[in-house]
């Protein structure tokens, strides 16, 4: 009897707690899964978000770097987590390319996308030793000499690799994509003139461009990148092509509306934080928050393109 009573009271207590949890979310630390090692682009974003989001939510964010499989392990862990809102992760284009490459068991619809926070376009930057100042010069040179462009990307199957393939298709020229272990290694090779160009994100090439070793040829965003204001977009150059890398917050599908609302509020506060704004600027990213239906539409469009291109690569 006593046993049953205890069980009952524990059960009631648990019940009250769980209702409370929804009302007063969050009541405990929130785990933020970063599917890559410390020190990567996504990791830097999460660590810059950490302070302002903690302030807004009134709890601690525990950053867990679950790396492996180019993000596959971390995203899979996040998908499999409880949907109580105490586990979130950072979606990027990699969430989609992993699906397209066929290496993971989840699909992009297994996530509830809470917010898009930062956007950075992809940039095609050429080694300055090539002497190209514009996209036109580069294309003409390639066509005249009938040779492929040696393009470095940040890893086989990475979103930069897929973007390089997509760009070549759009521009109608041949790219020979050389995958490197990291964006940094690809940039080093291009700065040294060992390859012709790289397709990466602005933050990775800004130093090289500042030093005059790299020239930004074209970017892929809707608008010009804040980090590379002089580089034209594909749209400006007359191509109907716009894809960007993005970083945001997502949870496993099935979190409550309350949890989502609390997070949206927190992100809205975070993007106003001057310290976060300074960090974003330094990372070469543009703060372009998106929530709700607009976000869903953005995810839908980007996912379709990235998955399609990645699937082609996997064949």
């Amino acid at each position: 009897m006593k046993k049953i009573m205890t069980t009952l009271s524990v059960a009631t207590a648990a019940l009250t707690l769980s209702t409370l949890a929804v009302a007063d979310y969050p009541t405990k630390n929130i785990e933020f899964i970063v599917p890559w090692n410390a020190g990567g682009g996504a990791d830097n974003v999460v660590r810059a978000l950490q302070n302002p989001v903690e302030k807004a939510l009134g709890t601690n964010l525990v950053v867990r770097n679950i790396s492996g499989g180019g993000g596959a392990v971390g995203f899979s862990t996040a998908v499999g987590a409880k949907t109580d809102g105490y586990v979130v992760t950072i979606p990027t284009n990699a969430t989609f390319t992993l699906e397209g490459l066929g290496n993971v068991g989840f699909t992009y619809t297994d996530f509830e996308y809470i917010a898009r926070v930062l956007v950075e376009p992809y940039v095609l930057a050429a080694s300055s030793q090539k002497g190209w100042e514009s996209l036109e010069e580069m294309l003409n040179d390639l066509q005249e000499n009938d040779r492929p462009l040696m393009v470095g990307a940040s890893g086989v199957g990475s979103s930069t690799h897929i973007m390089a393939v997509a760009l070549a298709e759009e521009l109608g020229v041949r790219f020979e994509v050389v995958p490197y272990d990291s964006g940094a290694n690809a940039v080093t090779a291009a700065m040294g003139g060992h390859i012709d160009a790289v397709v990466l994100n602005p933050s990775e090439v800004v130093s090289g461009i500042d030093s005059g070793r790299l020239t930004a040829i074209v970017t892929t965003g809707d608008e010009r990148s804040g980090a590379l204001p002089d580089a034209p977009t594909m749209l400006e150059q007359g191509y109907d092509f716009s894809v960007s890398q993005w970083r945001g917050v997502a949870a496993p599908k099935g979190i409550s509306q309350e949890v989502e609302d609390r997070w949206v509020e927190a992100i809205q506060a975070a993007v106003e934080d001057p310290e976060f704004q300074r960090a974003a600027e330094m990372m070469g990213s543009d703060i372009m928050p998106l929530y709700g239906d607009e976000l869903d539409e953005f995810v839908e469009n980007t996912a379709r393109l990235m998955i399609e291109e990645a699937a082609k690569l996997a064949q």
């Binding site: 090692n37 410390a38 020190g39 990567g40 990791d43 830097n44 660590r47 810059a48 950490q50 302070n51 867990r64 770097n65 679950i66 790396s67 492996g68 499989g69 180019g70 596959a72 392990v73 899979s76 862990t77 490459l101 290496n103 993971v104 040696m150 086989v156 199957g157 020979e176 050389v178 995958p179 490197y180 272990d181 990291s182 940094a184 290694n185 940039v187 080093t188 090779a189 700065m191 040294g192 060992h194 390859i195 933050s203 800004v206 130093s207 090289g208 500042d210 030093s211 070793r213 310290e275 300074r278 960090a279 330094m282 990372m283 690569l313 996997a314």
Partner: protein, 495 residues
Amino acid sequence: MNDYIDALGLVFQGYVLLAIAGGTLLGLIMGALPGLTAAMAIALLLPLTFGMPPVMGVGMLLGTLCGAIAGGSVSATLLNIPGTPSSVATTLDAFPMARSGQAGRALGIAIVASFLGGIFSAVVLSVLAPPIAEFALRFGAPEYFALSVFGLVIIASVSKNLAKGLAAGLIGLLLATVGSDPMLGSPRFTYGNMSLLTGINLLPALIGLFAVSQVLADVVDYFKTEKADASNTPIDKASPRWIEVLKHWKVVLSSSVIGTIVGAIPGAGGSIASFLSYDQAKKMSKTPEKFGKGHSEGIIASESSNNSLVGGSLIPMLTLGVPGEAATAVLMGGLMIQGIRPGPTLFTEQGAIIYGIFIAFFVANIFMMLFQWFGIRLFIKILQIPRKLLMAMILVFCVIGVYAVDSNIFNVYLMLAFGVLGFFLNKYGFGTAPVILGLILGPIAESNLRRALMVSGGDWTVFVTRPISLSFLVVALLFLAFSLWQNAKHKTSFA
């Protein structure tokens, strides 16, 4: 000049010095614990630095980096467990010396050699960073391939028995093929396991091969002798050995040069620097046969090299904005969040800050030496802990450390498997250092071989028509011949 004076003002403030000291101390502790890496220590401290002025925050992180590398040598010396991959070569001589009752001497040598290596690289960083970065840019895929071939030749030098050492190196190279194909992305030997898609993680392999295998060996030892307790090993006086190290100033100098340059080449697999230095010290030595048995020159070479690596690795990060490996990548993230964008403009536009960073790096090296100087008597007490307790504790730390890297339990299993492998490799005289060399260099050699051929359009002559690549290959051949000759002469090999 004004910038330098401003920079001094930025560094020599109570709080800034305190932050650097705190970072160094934390780095030392984390570096000494197997499995906790420099990158992790920096990531842990990163949020703390957001509210600090730039030089203070960066100084603290630099201290952590220096401390972590130096701390790695403490466990390497006393327990045969390298705290970081860079300290693997230290175990080769420091542990045998410690086992023979001269743990204090081994640590004393390591401290001084680390300090001198660190200071050397700090000087190079402050004076020669831009030209060295320029040199590093001349490394394309063929050069990386040639450098890794050169690195693989060292296996001959760190093996007690040449044939067995080469076999162990091959095991490492074979294991290095696990994971996604670096050029095509198709999975190899992953058996559907996502954790293996990016290959075998180096850290669990390192901890397994060195720490877990040592624990297993001690357990076996304990049951065999029933009382085996090393805690009553006599311990000598523990203090820094300045004179002994300075006597070998040539080894210090050449090892520091190697460490700084390898560190400055991003993606060259930094931890091979200590092996390269060890190898050249052995070749230049009048007493090469003493290496691997507790020889001071071996410790000096490895330690001055792995600490000069730190300064070297800051060169491409600060001057070109490209981090060479994990720890500097996290550090660069920290800089950017501080509002400092690494790259050439840093030197022209924010002179005071860059010089502040240089000075903070000097200061961090001095703190590192002082902490070790005073801590050495404390470290050595580890040896008085009953062996069976100590081994249990080490195993716990290994599991925590490996799990903490990426919160992936698979890596813990991987570590245990490597522990068993390491145990048998040691038992039958194959050694574990060649496996690690194979694991580190295998992916670099493979991907750069294929990259080079991709860029050259399948033309193999790129490896011999480019001067840097050709010289590495020629030197590798010469070293191999020399190793064989040295081995034959001292009859230590070819069983």
